[in-house]
Amino acid sequence: MAAAVAEAHRVLTGGGVLLALHPTDDRPTLEVWHARDGSGAVDEADAETARRAPLGPLNPDPEARRDFMAATEALAAAVDDAEADAPFDPAAVRAFDYFDFFDSLDDLTDYLDDNAEFARADDALLEAAALALDRAPGPARLVIVQRMVVAALQKS
């Protein structure tokens, strides 16, 4: 990672900006969403208005989680005058939630099978998800919520 940051520093013009977008090391969580009036399928535009029920955390892959932490550390090192060979100044940081939507438990488990390097769900969580879908008063969707961060650094 340090090599990639140093290369970015090299190809940037003076005062250029390094922008890095990646997940935080927070555990992703599973929620079930449905419209408050019980009608229509919800999507990301309904994040503020949908009825959202947290079901519990997923189990992130330890290696992926270490990578996320290492990315944050690499950016911190790049703005540390004592440590950085290719220094940057901190400019801005924003965090946000990234949502992945699933219409059924099968869709969710297929996704987790295909992306085992991202996260896994234990049986209790999957049972809770199935129950939540069954009990929803209208169309409902399962949602993985992952906290993300985007950091901007300026070439010193």
């Binding site: 990639a4 970015a8 250029g16 922008l19 990301e44 990315a71 993300m148």
Partner: protein
């Protein structure tokens, strides 16, 4: 064409104005974050080490608007050995690729 998430687009638009910048996107993958922003940039190089991902980006490029297509250069490459001269870009954008 895969699409970026609304929260992701809103956050990036609130943080950076890509207008007239020379942008190097590192880890561009299939171009999911390339197509929404490249039209504003002066030049946009989308770099990825995965040839399969870039092939998908080439396919998706056909659906992009002409002014976006003409600004985007898709390049196979490694973030640790960037095939560009010093000072070639105004913005280096790591998209899920620093981890």
């Amino acid at each position: 064409m895969t699409s970026a998430a609304r929260s992701e687009l809103q956050t990036l638009r609130g943080l950076i104005d890509f207008a007239r910048l020379r942008v190097l996107e590192i880890g561009a993958g299939d171009g999911r974050l390339t197509w929404p922003f490249a039209g504003k940039a002066r030049r946009w190089v989308a770099l990825d080490p995965d040839a399969d991902e870039l092939r998908q980006a080439v396919r998706d490029r056909r659906d992009a608007r002409p002014r976006v297509r003409e600004r985007v250069q898709l390049t196979l490459g490694d973030a640790r050995r960037l095939p560009f001269p010093d000072g070639a870009f105004d913005l280096a954008f790591f998209t899920y690729s620093l981890c």
